[in-house]
Symmetry: C2
Subunit: 305 residues, 2 copies
């Protein structure tokens, strides 16, 4: 089982509009609501590939109930902890005329971090890998992610962390197996704008692997054994949020099987590409995954050093 | 009691953001949720002025429960009818950097129109005036507003209608006492762009009074007795949605007291101005109302004919 901790779950609301009139009133043509949060997307991708994923999340209020029911409808096993704060929303406005999406994320707040941590510890015995993905809600301690990461590592489990800012800096103190920032998140946490230099510095300093997602340009991966740039066979346009979550899923299932980082980069890029072509985060095109796997180009960056 | 029918209630969500990054991701700094729908705003203004207002609305799901609880927190008596469709949201993104607001309205749907109509009829015996304000939800019959208006008029009650498009055209068939379109809504329903000419035509053809709201420029009012342009003493900047609802409240309380249209225009303009200066629709500054009342300028448009 791969344990997917979702510290800041949400109901992801999508508004399809003909043309978004910013500064005026726009009628929404279609409303879609589904359980969200990056860890949920990761768990859905894992489930689609036949892996056993469990989502652990604090939930509250009517939206918390909707979140639980939504996971159940997805066929995702969920371990939920009751929070006194209602589960938040995110709203994505998909503008057909402009061909773009605007995302509004409500802040997440919980009052039950200790209970989440207790459940996390209890679930470690059944886990083969741990994913911690998403933002740290207010109400959680600053060292919350570090403590959980240390516990999972002490249980000899691989831990994949995908978060940003202070939460990422905090999680690094727990020495996760791998972190997966995008270029902007990597620059923010390292203070360096060069992706490869930043990844090497973080990997060396914290003793973690770093996989930086570069959108259509694939990823840069660094660990103690080397550094690589992996690119998809062909450029695909689509949904970048889902791509990052699929990449995390590939890392988690690879590490759960004991695969070395350098040997799972092909799957990571291919799975990411298979998510890009889907309209919603959390979905992957399994046939596209298989097609992409054979064409990923992996460049050894140590050779050029 | 003034009966305020809210055919399409909503939870009005306000997102305060530092700067709305359209096409990207924006973190919401503050989330406010409150029961909305134009008739709710009207009832709140009436209540603030000491009138007894009752809101009648179909509600469903957890948001329907939130709507009922929110009205209760406002101290507003509510008569709710259970719908199988969840009460919708509207989302207003208030962008501090741009100094503007973008409103997204979800479509309203109900499955309980007949039960709403039954409750409406039962409440007429206690009513001194009726307000019908807001859009007609899908699931309601095309002649729904006309039927209710006819019933209220048959009970010799004044009826104020504030809606638009096909719903306004439908309501006119019921011969309400007064309709309150804005300039755009009036142009849409009449096919004429000149406000005074459009108002005179509709008033003459349907035998109704027409009060057209003109924002900072006040209102134009037409009934069988004459036509007038009423303007505030001074221009105020602020929230135009709340201003229209306050204007409806002024019409309803005036007609409930048997006041002639020409004698309530001062209150209508002043109450509208007292709403403009408030940040949220449904709130009025009672002191500003008293200040504005003395300065409203009323021009008799018949004299110039």
């Amino acid at each position: 089982m791969i344990l997917c901790l979702c510290p800041s779950p949400a109901i992801d609301v999508t508004y399809n509009v003909a043309a978004f009139a910013v500064g005026e009133t726009t009628r929404v043509r279609r409303v879609t609501r589904r359980p969200g949060g990056k860890a949920v997307n990761v768990a859905r991708v894992l489930t689609a590939l036949g892996d056993h994923a469990v989502v652990l999340a604090p939930v509250g209020g009517a939206t918390g109930e909707e979140f639980r029911n939504g996971l159940s409808a997805f066929g995702l096993p969920a371990e939920t902890v009751h929070s006194g704060h209602s589960t938040r929303h995110t709203v994505t406005v998909v503008d057909a005329a402009a061909g773009q999406a605007s995302v509004l994320t409500e802040p997440a707040t919980i009052d039950c971090w200790d209970a989440v941590a207790d459940r996390f510890h209890a679930l470690l015995t059944a886990a083969e890998a741990v994913v911690i993905s998403g933002s740290l809600p207010s109400g959680a301690p600053d060292d919350g992610l570090a403590t959980l990461t240390l516990a999972a590592r002490a249980a000899e489990l691989p831990v994949v962390v995908d978060t940003s800012g202070a939460a990422l800096a905090g999680a690094l103190a727990g020495k996760p197996t791998v972190i997966k920032p995008n270029a902007a998140e990597l620059a923010e946490v390292s203070g360096r704008s060069d992706v490869l230099a930043a990844a090497r510095e973080l990997a060396g300093f914290h003793g973690v692997a770093v996989v930086a997602s570069l959108g259509a340009d694939g990823l840069i991966a660094v660990d103690a054994a080397g550094s690589w740039h992996a690119r998809p066979a062909r450029r695909l346009r689509g949904n970048p949020t889902g791509a990052g979550d699929a990449l995390v899923a590939a890392l988690a299932r690879g590490f759960a099987r004991g695969t070395a980082l350098c040997d799972l980069l092909g799957d990571a890029v291919a799975l990411s590409a298979a998510a890009v072509v889907q309209p919603y985060a959390g979905e992957v095109d399994v046939a596209e995954f298989d097609r992409q796997r054979t064409g990923v180009r992996i460049e050894d960056l140590e050779a050029a050093r």
